[in-house]
Amino acid sequence: MDTNDYTDDELKDSPLLKNMSRENPFKVPDGYFESFPTIITERITSQRSKPAWIIFLKNVFQPKYVVAMLVFAAALTSGVVYFNQHPAATDREIILSYDDLNNSNYIAQFDESDLIDAYLSGANADKSNESNTEIENYLLDNQTDISIIENEL
């Protein structure tokens, strides 16, 4: 590293700083730098001797993540408890009253003709079966010739 003293040029407008001692004022305990390399070697060795999964868990479960994990776990637990107590409604359980339908905004989106068709097909299904049986009985009772009906049609 270059240690040529050229900072003085930068300090020509600041005589106070230019004339001050630039000695390092920070000290360390005695023997600090003699023991420091050993500390580093020990740290590296201890990290290398740990299985990868321990290092992974240690990295994941850092104190800074603990709060986030607890919040997530609490949210998950309350979600599970809530949905167990309030199971989702199935189609069969959806019962709408007349007032519900009447007040619903969706009712306006239906085509009236579809509603009429749906009603008639449902309502007439039983009726038509009923009336067909009556007609058949009438034709059998009166021994009507089917060819006459065919001619009429």
Binding site: M1, D2, N4, M20, P25, K27, F36, I44
Partner: protein, 182 residues
């Protein structure tokens, strides 16, 4: 002890048989420079000790991927600077210290630091330096105390030479003002 060149140390580091020995030599070669660089940023000795350890552990992990496009000390200084800034950021969040108050706390630590040997004027200068924004503080220290060239500083801090010169100039003005105010 023979002081090897950086390229020789790196060559030995890449050899599995001499890897640990080479890294130990790298630590011995750069520990003081890096420690004092870190110390000027975090002020407290214990904090500087922790950050220095983290710096070398990171260097150990990353040295395999280090390509000699840059110089080793530039790369180490960069790790040390980043680790120091990360440490200060964590300190702010951990102790819920308002952003501007960390420097206030560092100045308070300085006053009670038994490992500080400067006279009254040096103490005042250090407190003046602590009023600077973090990056400006680092630039000032690197230039004023370590006399690092702007070109080298530029590689370490990933900032243009022009911006560094301006930063130093502003820092000098602010410090001069602080020192002459009372």
């Amino acid at each position: 002890m023979t002081e090897y060149s950086d390229s020789e140390l790196l060559r030995q580091f890449r050899n599995e048989n001499t890897r640990n020995y080479a890294f130990n030599l790298i630590v011995r070669k750069y520990q003081q420079k890096l420690y004092y660089h870190i110390r000027k940023i975090v002020i407290d000795h214990d904090d500087a000790h922790d950050v220095s350890q983290n710096t070398f552990v990171k260097a150990w992990k990353g040295l395999d991927n280090f390509r000699e496009d840059s110089q080793l000390y530039t790369w180490l200084y960069r790790i040390a600077t980043n680790e120091s800034l990360t440490f200060l950021k964590q300190k702010k969040t951990k102790f819920l210290i308002p952003l501007g108050d960390v420097e206030y706390e560092l100045a308070a630590n300085l006053s009670s630091d038994t490992n500080f040997s400067g006279d009254k004027m040096m103490m005042k200068l250090q407190k003046a330096i602590l009023t600077l924004p973090e990056k400006q503080r680092i630039v000032f220290n690197m230039k004023y105390f370590d006399n690092i060239k702007y070109e080298e500083m530029s590689k370490i801090l990933d900032t243009s030479v022009g911006a560094l010169k301006a930063s130093f100039h502003h820092a000098v003005k602010k410090i001069e003002k602080y020192l002459t105010e009372d």
